[in-house]
C-alpha cells in the first residue's frame, strides 16, 4: 500500500519525499486498517484546496498541515502543537472526480475537518474523547448541508460508516443524531428554519442562560441519579428524574438544552408556606381559588384573613459546566412559563453524552408569593425555605432515594 501511495503521489520524486510521521493522537474511521507505521507525502494542490475550502467554511483558519498518507480514507492527527490532516490520495481523487458526490466520504472528511476546526486534542481520557467525537460529527453534518446534502443523504452516508460504540466512542445512535443535528444547524444558519421535519432532534435552548437566581437550590448527589449504571449517560439521569417527578405527582415537564447538558423543568405548583404541595386539583391553578365547599367558618376566615398564594417551580439542570445564576431582576417572572416552552423528551445527541465526574445535577427552586388573591405573584429571593426542604417536602428527594 505504501509503494502504491508513493507512486500516486508523484512517482519517483514522491518516493524521495516519503517520510515516516509520528503522532501523539489520531482519529480515523476504519482504524482497524491503520498501518503500524505512518508514512506521509506532500499533498497535491487539488486535495489541499479542497480541505482548505472546507476548513474555511467553519470560519476558522488554523495552521493545518495537509499530507497524503497511508491512512484509511482520511485522518486527523496531532503532534505537539502541530495539527495534521492525512488523506488517502486514491479516495480523495475518486471523491474529486466523481460526478455524484460520495456523501459517505464527505461525512468522513467533514468529521476529521471538524476535529481540526474545533482544535480537538486526541490525547484525552476516554470520556472526553466521546464528547469531541460527537462535536466532530455535528460539524460533519453541518458541512454536508453546506455541500448540498439532503438529510436522507446524511442518514445514508452515516449508515455506511463503521461506527463503534465503546468506552471511548459514543454509541452509534448518538452519532447519527449528532450528524442530523449538525445538518439542521446548517439549514437553520442558511435561513431554512427547523420546519416540521420529524427527524429533527434539536430542542429549544434554556430560555435564559445563565438561569435567573433561584430562591433555593440543592445539588442532587450523582449516586442518586446513576446508581447501578455501568456506563452512565445523561439520559440515565433524565430517566431517574422523570420517574421521581411522575411518582411525586408532577404532570407536565419540559426538556431544554443547556451548555453541555440539559434542563428539566416541572410544572408550577401551588404549595403551603411550609413547602408541602396542595392536595389534589388545588395544586395546579396559578391563583388562589375560593373555597370549594361553602361553610360559614371557612367563609369568615377567607373574609377576614389574607389569602396569600405560594407557588413553586423546580428546574433540574444537568451539565458538566459550573452553574452560575444570573441576578437579572427583569427575568424573575419567567420560570412560571418554562414548562410550556420545552421539549417532551431528551434528544439522543444529548442523552447519549456520558455522565462524567464533571457532570452535576442542581435542582433550582423558584418560589413565588402572591400577597392576596388576584395580585401578581412575585419571586421570593431568597426563598422562605431552603432548596433541600423543598426537595424533601415535594417528595422528590424521597423518590430519588428509592
Amino acid at each position: 500500500m505504501l509503494l502504491g501511495l508513493g507512486a500516486f503521489a508523484g512517482g519517483a520524486g514522491a518516493l524521495k519525499a516519503q517520510e515516516s510521521q509520528a503522532v501523539d493522537g489520531l482519529c480515523a474511521f476504519n482504524s482497524d486498517h491503520l498501518a503500524e507505521k505512518l508514512y506521509v507525502f506532500p499533498a497535491d494542490k487539488q486535495a489541499s484546496a479542497l480541505f482548505e475550502d472546507l476548513l474555511g467554511m467553519s470560519g476558522k483558519k488554523g495552521k493545518l498541515s495537509i499530507k497524503a498518507a497511508n491512512v484509511p480514507e482520511i485522518a486527523a492527527a496531532e503532534k505537539g502543537e502541530q495539527r495534521f490532516l492525512f488523506y488517502d490520495p486514491f479516495v480523495i481523487n475518486e471523491f474529486l472526480k466523481g460526478r455524484r458526490k460520495d456523501w459517505r466520504v464527505a461525512a468522513v472528511i467533514g468529521h476529521q475537518i471538524g476535529h481540526q476546526a474545533s482544535s480537538h486534542s486526541f490525547a484525552l481520557e476516554p470520556r472526553l474523547r466521546a464528547e469531541i467525537e460527537l462535536e466532530a460529527d455535528r460539524f460533519a453534518g453541518y458541512l454536508m448541508f453546506r455541500l448540498g446534502a439532503k438529510l436522507e443523504d446524511v442518514e445514508t452516508a452515516v449508515a455506511g460508516l463503521p461506527l463503534k460504540g465503546d468506552a471511548s466512542y459514543p454509541d452509534p445512535p448518538a452519532r447519527v443524531a449528532a450528524f442530523r443535528e449538525g445538518w439542521h444547524d446548517g439549514k437553520a444558519e442558511a435561513g431554512g428554519g427547523m420546519g416540521f421535519d420529524e427527524t429533527t432532534e434539536n430542542i429549544p435552548q434554556f430560555p435564559m442562560w445563565p438561569p435567573p437566581r433561584a430562591s433555593g437550590n440543592m445539588e442532587i448527589p450523582s449516586s442518586l441519579l446513576i446508581k447501578g449504571v455501568s456506563r452512565p449517560r445523561l439520559r440515565d439521569a433524565a430517566e431517574r428524574i422523570l420517574k421521581a417527578l411522575d411518582s411525586a405527582g408532577y404532570g407536565e415537564r419540559s426538556f431544554y438544552s443547556v451548555p453541555d447538558g440539559f434542563a428539566l423543568v416541572a410544572r408550577i405548583e401551588q404549595i403551603y408556606p411550609d413547602g408541602r404541595p396542595k392536595e389534589g386539583d388545588a395544586r395546579w391553578p396559578v391563583s388562589v381559588e375560593p373555597p370549594r365547599v361553602f361553610d360559614l367558618r371557612s367563609y369568615f376566615r377567607a373574609l377576614f384573613n389574607s389569602t396569600p398564594g405560594f407557588y413553586r417551580v423546580i428546574a433540574f439542570v444537568v451539565t458538566s459546566r459550573p452553574l452560575i445564576q444570573s441576578s437579572d431582576p427583569t427575568k424573575s417572572k419567567a420560570p412560571r412559563d418554562w414548562v410550556w416552552g420545552g421539549s417532551n423528551r431528551l434528544p439522543t445527541v444529548i442523552g447519549f453524552a456520558d455522565y462524567t465526574a464533571n457532570v452535576s445535577c442542581t435542582a433550582l427552586i423558584y418560589e413565588f408569593q402572591q400577597a392576596s388573591r388576584g395580585t401578581d405573584a412575585v419571586l421570593d429571593n431568597p426563598g422562605l425555605l431552603t432548596g433541600r426542604i423543598h426537595m424533601e417536602r415535594s417528595a422528590l428527594l424521597a423518590e430519588l432515594e428509592k
Binding site: 391563583s287 388562589v288 381559588e289 375560593p290 373555597p291 361553602f294 367563609y299 377567607a302 373574609l303 377576614f304 384573613n305 389574607s306 389569602t307 396569600p308 400577597a371 392576596s372 388573591r373 388576584g374 395580585t375
Partner: protein, 158 residues
C-alpha cells in the same frame, strides 16, 4: 274641632296617615345609613389591618369613601342642623316617598355590602370587583342622592 279637621282635609287632599313627620323620616334613614356604614367601615378596617388587600389597601378605601361619605356627610349635617333649629323639624313627607327613599338606600347599601361579602367566593381580585361594582353603584348613587337630598334638604313646612 271636627269642623276644623274637615276644613284641613278639604284644603289638603293628603290625610295624616299618608304623611310622616320629616324628623321621623330622617331618623329612620339616618339609622339605616349609619348602621350600614358602621358595618362596612368595621369590615374594611379589620380586613385592612389583617392585610387582606395587601398593597391595594389604598385603592379599597379610595373606592368606599366616595361611595358612602357624600351621603353620610349630608345626613349628619342635616341631623345636626335640625337638632338646633326646632322649626325645621315641623315638615312632613309623603309616606310613599319615604318608602322609595328607604328602599333605594337599602338596595344601594346592600350592593356595597355584597361587593365586600362576595370577595371570598370569587376568584377575581377584590380590587377589580370593587372597580367593576362602580358600573352599577354609580348610577344608583345618583338616584339615592336625589331622593335623600329632597328629604334632608327641604325646608317646606306644612
Amino acid at each position: 274641632m271636627q269642623a276644623k279637621q274637615a276644613r284641613i282635609a278639604k284644603e289638603d287632599p293628603l290625610t295624616n296617615q299618608q304623611l310622616v313627620p320629616m324628623d321621623r323620616a330622617r331618623n329612620r334613614l339616618a339609622t339605616l345609613w349609619l348602621s350600614a356604614a358602621a358595618l362596612i367601615f368595621a369590615t374594611l378596617s379589620i380586613q385592612s389591618l389583617r392585610l387582606v388587600y395587601g398593597a391595594s389597601v389604598q385603592e379599597v378605601w379610595g373606592w368606599i369613601l366616595p361611595t358612602l361619605m357624600p351621603t353620610l356627610g349630608m345626613i349628619v349635617t342635616v341631623l345636626g342642623y335640625t337638632a338646633v333649629d326646632e322649626e325645621l323639624s315641623k315638615a312632613v313627607v309623603r309616606r310613599s316617598f319615604l318608602a322609595v327613599a328607604f328602599w333605594l338606600s337599602f338596595c344601594y347599601l346592600l350592593l356595597i355590602l355584597m361587593t365586600i361579602a362576595m370577595q371570598p367566593l370569587s376568584p377575581a381580585n377584590p380590587v377589580d370587583l370593587m372597580r367593576m361594582s362602580n358600573l352599577w353603584l354609580g348610577p344608583f348613587q345618583g338616584l339615592v342622592a336625589s331622593a335623600l337630598g329632597v328629604l334632608f334638604v327641604t325646608k317646606r313646612q306644612r
